[in-house]
């Protein structure tokens, strides 16, 4: 299985290459990708240099142009597609059907991967993208169990890629409006979930209180690990008590699921975290490279070494291992 790794900066790209990535995914410094954070991402020149560096080391570069093009501004997305193709991107990661059609029409030999943002979670949806736009690989949403993934793979002709580590969107990838509701900005349109311009962490008494826009997301006691201020992982008080209604603040870690994912026929394993620093990239990529090598050698996969990198210092196998709560 291939290891697909994130890079938010050129230096992170080099770190990922040197830590054992088979392919790197990255994006331009604008709203065309789903990690549009300040100080992050690549200029056109940096992308060209990054692709050259990666190719010299036998590593591929996938460019995420995976937000949904804004009405009246589709030129921004089309320019990003043209420039990524011109720079020699090995594949484009896309979600918007209009931009998929543009790429298929104007760059017919360009390899296209379907972004998780497209939320294609059944064979019919995947077939539509394959037949309509020549999509070669689908990144599956993090809502499927391993048996469900195996069933899909049997019914589709394209490759599949699944997330194995990092930030965990719950249930509604590509369709989530929580961030938009709270801040007016979303990963789908502006490339930001819980934009930092709307985030605050304040010490109030003996607690640290996180807020997103007008919403209080959490209050962490002194002896608790903190987490991102996302509404889907907030701690709220309802008539049933106080707790995490949608999901705990945790990171996905599917290291223990690798044998099942391999047996299901998954092509590639993806690490989330373009917004994270070089230390995260180095640590997570190296750990999963070792896990893949252990899997291929028939050895036990070491787990638990990435707790410090995980949101809330907790991990979960997510939907891959569905259980009742």
């Amino acid at each position: 299985m291939e290891l697909i790794c994130p890079a938010g900066t050129p230096s992170a790209l080099e770190v990922a290459v040197n830590a054992g990535a088979d392919a790197i995914y990255c994006g331009f410094s604008d709203e065309t990708n789903a990690r549009n954070f300040p100080g992050l991402n690549f200029s056109r020149e940096e992308l060209g240099e990054g692709i050259s560096y990666a190719h010299r080391h036998g590593v591929k570069v996938l460019v995420a142009i995976n937000t949904f093009a804004r009405a009246g501004a589709t030129d921004v997305w089309k320019r990003a597609i043209d420039d990524a193709v011109g720079a020699g991107a090995d594949a484009l990661i896309m979600a918007d059907v209009g931009m998929l059609a543009y790429t298929a029409r104007h760059h017919s030999s360009q390899r296209i991967h379907l972004s998780v943002q497209a939320a294609a979670a059944n064979p019919d949806a995947i077939r539509f993208y394959v037949e309509s736009f020549g999509v070669r690989r689908v990144v599956l949403p993090r809502v499927l169990s391993v048996p469900e993934i195996a069933k899909i793979i049997k019914e589709v002709s394209c490759e599949t890629e699944v997330f194995v580590y990092g930030g965990l969107c719950v249930m509604e990838e590509g369709r989530c409006s929580l961030s938009s509701y709270a801040t007016g900005k979303s990963p789908n349109m502006q490339g930001v979930c819980s934009p930092p311009s709307h985030v605050s962490y304040r010490e109030e008494g003996d607690k640290v209180v996180s807020r997103l826009g007008k919403f209080t997301i959490n209050a962490f006691a002194e002896d608790e690990a903190t987490a991102y201020p996302t509404l889907c992982k907030g701690r709220f008080t309802t008539s049933h008590g106080t707790g995490y209604i949608f999901e705990d603040p945790v990171s996905l870690d599917a290291a223990t699921m690798l044998p099942g994912l391999r047996d299901a026929g998954v092509t590639a394993l993806k690490i989330e975290g373009r917004q994270r620093g070089r230390a995260y990239i180095e640590s997570v990529v190296r750990t999963f490279r070792q896990a893949i090598e252990a899997l291929e050698a028939g050895e036990a996969i070491k787990t638990g070494s990435l707790i410090a990198m995980s949101e809330g210092q907790m991990t979960t196998a997510g939907a891959y291992r569905k259980t009742w709560r």
Binding site: T9, G20, V199, A225, Y280, Q313
Partner: protein
């Protein structure tokens, strides 16, 4: 939520107490040289900050009796040492010296330090994120590079401060195929 698991050891309290009477003026020319060198060698770092290069950042090592104020203007970046952080800052970042140095060297992940409660951030989160990403984008240990230029003793001092040996590149890259996809 689990108890936060700290990864950085703070400096001994006795050391902090011993440093309290020391004057700050010898630090000022060193800090000026440090940010000046970054501007010369890594101008892209300041450009990455965009509008946030006009912000004022307070950096407070919680295990030292002084703090720093950083103004990362691309044309003339300024860093000064101060006993107390002023109130008119856009953002404050505090944590053990080892954590702050780890961010500058790229050996610590800012989010991980935040999860573990070793790093505390107040104020303009967008500006802090931009600063973190800009520093991380440089791809070298800024402090180590400066110390190495400053004196022959710089490299060993840097090694002592960092504590982590650099990782070797993945050997399997040499075996990878270069078959193009397109």
């Amino acid at each position: 939520m689990p108890k936060p698991d700290a990864t950085i050891s703070p400096l001994p309290h006795a050391l902090s107490l011993a440093m309290r009477p020391l004057p700050l003026w010898p630090l000022q020319p060193l800090l000026a040289m440090f940010v000046g060198r970054i501007r010369t060698r890594h101008p892209g770092m300041f450009e990455r900050l965009g509008e946030h290069s006009q912000k004022r950042f307070g950096l407070k090592p919680t295990d030292l009796p002084f703090a720093f104020v950083l103004e990362p203007k691309p044309s003339r970046p300024v860093a000064v040492a101060t006993r107390q952080l002023p109130s008119n800052l856009d953002a404050r970042i505090s944590g053990p010296l080892g954590a702050l140095l780890g961010l500058v060297s790229g050996e610590c992940d800012g989010d991980a330090l935040f999860f573990s409660r070793e790093l505390h951030i107040e104020g303009d989160m967008e500006a802090v994120l931009a600063l973190r990403n800009a520093i991380d984008s440089v791809g070298v240990n800024l402090l180590g590079e400066f110390l190495a230029e400053l004196s022959p003793l710089g490299a060993p001092v840097d090694k002592l401060l960092r504590g982590h040996p650099p990782q070797r590149p993945y050997a399997g890259n040499a075996r990878k195929g270069t078959q193009p996809w397109n």
